[in-house]
Amino acid sequence: MKFQISKEPINIQQVIDQVVQREAGAITTFIGTVREITHGKKTLYLVYEAYESMAVKRLEQIGKEIEERWKGADVAIVHRVGKLDITDVAVVIAVSTPHRADAYEANRYAIERIKEIVPIWKKEHWEDGQEWIGNQLETVAYSKGEPEAKHLDE
């Protein structure tokens, strides 16, 4: 189960364990956590929702894209859904590669692609309201291709 949507807290070590390989000299992880302040506004908590069956397929697709682009890469991704408090872990991406430069690059590629093609949404809850967050861009069905440079770095 290298690509999962999880209703339970993510066990980071278990995600890492899935990409351990004798050919790897480097494993990078990206851990997305719930930040308290965004654009000066205080978040109380988030709720993540996913189109689960499709989200898993798109995570698998990202894994395949990475294995094609970075030789010897191995990838595992788990995204959490449900209510998350500040500092809770929303997503864990683990990538192993023979050499370290690739592990950083391929990992970065994974998070950018997640923010483009994986059907997961977050609803921010503030003291004075709540809102579903979109990427605020004109979005088309870019099921292939590079992450867009203009993509927001939130």
Partner: protein, 77 residues
């Protein structure tokens, strides 16, 4: 019959998570007009769609039994 799926704010706008409706033979573009007019979906141009969990284009034609998802700009990660 076809199954329509609404997520995030679209679910709130449509007032439903799923909808059963026969739209086979229509294009995605035609279906977008329908849900926009009959189910109050706004900003439909920025909404992606998927047929059976694969991203679809506006001119794709819906088949009998297809599940169509309306996917607002994603915000995972």
């Amino acid at each position: 019959m076809n199954k329509l799926l609404f997520f995030a704010h679209l679910k709130d706008e449509a007032g439903a998570e799923t909808l059963s409706i026969d739209v086979s033979g229509k294009t995605i573009a035609e279906l977008k007009t329908i849900v926009s007019e009959q189910h109050g979906l706004t900003k439909i141009d920025s909404v992606m769609t998927a047929i059976n969990e694969e991203f679809a284009e506006d001119d794709d034609i819906i088949q009998q039994g297809d599940t169509i998802a309306f996917i607002p700009p994603v915000s995972g990660g």
